[in-house]
């Protein structure tokens, strides 16, 4: 077996393009994933035209609220490109220099202030977006909606605070600042006390009865309006979210990204190399000569799986080592990495040998290996709940029949503690390795026809 392995490695060395791809591919993947996971997502560039006068403030009952710094908040979420006119904003959107333009009109604050008057206006902001790219348009919609929701929330909270303060003044009394001076407000509670004190001094009669009713109203209003304060505050954000994780533990995003990159590399190397190498035995007419007493078909399959494991191991470890430049990896868990790579590599190589035995020609095999590996890898990344239940069940079955998903699970578990046990995916991979080896052995019968 070792001589066959040596022969395959010699052939690999003699195919510079293949060898370069095997090294360059994981290095490229490592660099891309490394850059992706070590840098935060880039902020979308949005043109901002703020026509609101700098001294304009939202006011409530004649009192100006402190600045909510909406512009600063927006620019914290997106990369603001300040523009001087609507035309400039439009030109930037059309040219693709910015994803969208947000225009805050001059009368925005006045319209907001009008909400508390008898003739309320409709405050509007304008969003310019280039909809030639539906994906981009959808992204802009989501981003701008989120920004506006946040701006509305900020505004609502400030209004609620001021509303609560006024309500407190009505209940408890105090000083209301008006036009630089102040007006004393008695308040419902003090009014009730005064009325209670006056009531015994009045003679019985309709006037006393009426005063008693007013006193009772002032008392009840003073007591009960107390609970309106928290209600007004809740109006700003009536629903809060409490996230409770039930079942499953999701790995950190960067660990998952590294596991995906490593498994993808291992899958392509093991499946393509083994499938191609086995098909090459047929294409070079060497298979009948080899299996004519020199090696058994089983030994030849074993050698191919070993080839997939060895090359897959080297390339995947190389890739993980490359990733350590960008992201710290737990090298203390290298034993588990090796287990995941070796068992995953064996299972993927066995699948590759089944493909190689079934397709027989190197070109057909390469195409088939891509056609199988890429969609299965894609399907393995579809999370539950993002597609219909029936479709997800089908995806689950398909991905369970190919070693990519269990190899990804094993790799994720191996890379970091707390990402689920590695035993179940390794067992799954071992079962698939045996099943694919049997399929390959059956398919090899066709190789012997001369």
């Amino acid at each position: 077996m070792r001589w066959l392995l040596l022969k395959d490695l010699q052939i690999l060395r003699r195919s510079p393009l293949q060898a370069v791809l095997l090294v360059a591919y994981p290095v490229l993947i490592a660099v891309l994933v490394g850059l992706a996971v070590s840098r935060g997502p880039e902020k979308p560039r949005v043109a901002l035209l703020n026509e609101v006068p700098t001294n304009a403030r939202v006011s409530l009952s004649g009192k100006k609220l402190p600045s909510a710094n909406v512009q600063r908040r927006i620019c914290a979420k997106v990369e603001c490109v300040h523009v001087g006119s609507r035309d400039e904003a439009m030109a930037k959107v059309e040219s693709g220099d910015v994803l969208a333009a947000l225009i805050l009109p001059e009368d925005l604050v006045n319209k907001i202030n009008s909400l508390s008057t008898l003739s309320p206006g409709t405050p509007k902001v304008e969003v310019l977006v280039n909809e030639s790219d539906p994906l981009k348009a959808s992204m802009v919609d989501d981003k701008i909606e989120a920004l506006l929701a946040q701006a509305n929330l900020t505004l609502a909270k400030r209004i609620a605070v001021e509303g609560g303060r006024y309500l407190n003044l009505v209940i408890r009394g105090g000083n209301l600042p008006v036009l630089g001076g102040g007006v004393h407000i008695l308040g419902l509670q003090a009014s009730a006390h005064i009325l209670e004190a006056i009531e015994p001094a009045l003679p019985n009669g309709p006037l006393k009865v009426a005063l008693s009713q007013v006193t009772e109203f002032a008392k009840q209003a003073g007591e009960n309006l107390d609970i309106a304060g928290p209600l007004i505050n809740r109006l700003a954000q009536p629903i809060t979210v409490e996230k409770v994780a039930v079942g499953g533990s999701s790995p950190p995003l960067e660990t998952f990204a590294i596991a995906v990159a490593a498994t993808l590399t291992l899958a392509f190397v093991a499946v393509l190399l083994v499938a191609g190498s086995l098909a090459l035995e047929r294409e070079e007419n060497a298979f009948p000569r080899l299996t004519r007493g020199l090696v058994s078909s089983e030994a030849l399959l074993g050698e191919k799986v070993l080839l997939g494991i060895v090359v897959g191991l080297v390339v995947t470890i190389l890739m993980l080592a490359g990733l350590t430049i960008f992201v710290p990896l737990e090298w203390s868990r290298v034993g588990l990495w090796l287990a995941a790579i070796v068992v995953g590599g064996a299972s993927l190589a066995a699948a590759g040998s089944a493909l190689g035995a079934a397709a027989r020609e190197v070109r057909a095999v390469s195409l088939l290996a891509f056609m199988v590996t890429l969609p299965v890898a894609f399907l393995s990344l579809v999370p539950a709940g993002t597609v219909g239940r029936g479709l997800y069940d089908v995806i689950k079955v398909i991905t369970a029949l190919f070693p990519f998903k269990p190899a990804l699970e094993a790799m994720t578990s191996a890379l970091e503690a707390g990402n689920g046990g590695i035993g179940a995916p390794l067992l799954h991979l071992a079962i698939l390795a045996v099943a694919y080896a049997l399929i390959a052995r059956l398919a090899l019968r066709r190789f012997t026809r001369v």
Partner: protein, 234 residues
């Protein structure tokens, strides 16, 4: 080597129908017949590549070397690496020495380091045969060994094969080139549609043609042979 009543079926089609023959040490036996006659199937059964559905093969002592029609070697390896690989797989005690012997035998010693893919078809075929000889076989089976070779390469090939037979190796080769079979074969086994029509020398085959297809007896051997097959219903 002896074959008795060999039968091979592929589904409903009978590729061999009770073929029997015998070859002695140092004999050159040509298996001839039109395409689809069963030549390759017969040789692959003799080589043990596939089993027969009926009949039996006796090979006597010694290994049977097999050289398939298309060179069975690794084109991205060098001449020496190919020979070394198969010598190691044959478990030779001294693979290096066996490789040196084969390089000398094939006259490719000065091209030992060349990638096989860069060699001519004739030289690739010589390596193909050399690999078949690594097991030091008593019987060498060659499946259409001269296909794709130019006349000069063919001549060198047959000189080489004749040398092997001269040293006592039984050589059984298939061909559909009747002139080649006549020139290099001591005996001819004529197959058509899986049936053995004739087993004897070239002179005996000419006699059989003269008897069964007298109208073509005076024409060239190939035309006469085709007329003979036609008379036999093929």
């Amino acid at each position: 080597m002896q074959a008795r009543g060999l039968v091979k079926r592929f589904g409903d089609r009978e590729a061999l129908r009770g073929v029997s023959f015998e070859a002695q040490a140092g004999e050159l036996v040509a298996v001839i017949g039109p395409n689809g006659a069963g030549k390759t199937t017969l040789l692959s059964i003799l080589a043990g590549i596939q089993g027969a559905d009926g009949g039996e093969v006796e090979t006597g002592d010694g290994a049977v070397g097999w050289v398939p029609q298309q060179a069975a070697l690794y084109r991205r390896l060098t001449v020496e690496e190919n020979l070394m690989l198969f010598a190691r797989l044959e478990k030779h005690e001294d693979p290096g020495r066996s490789v040196a012997e084969m390089l000398e035998l094939t006259g490719l010693g000065d091209r030992r380091g060349e990638i096989v893919a860069r060699l001519s078809g004739g030289n690739q075929q010589r390596i193909n045969i050399a690999i078949g000889l690594l097991s030091r076989p008593g019987v060498l089976l060659l499946d259409e060994p001269s296909v794709g070779l130019d006349p000069r390469q063919r001549a060198r090939l047959w000189d080489f094969v004749a040398g092997l037979a001269g040293r006592g190796t039984t050589v059984i080769f298939s061909t559909h080139d009747i002139q080649e079979a006549e020139r290099y074969g001591n005996r001819m086994l004529v197959l058509a549609d899986g049936e053995a029509l004739f087993d004897g020398s070239a002179d005996e085959l000419r006699e059989a043609v003269r008897t069964e297809a007298p109208e073509a007896a005076d024409r060239d051997f190939e035309t006469a042979f085709v007329a003979y097959l036609h008379h036999r219903g093929h």
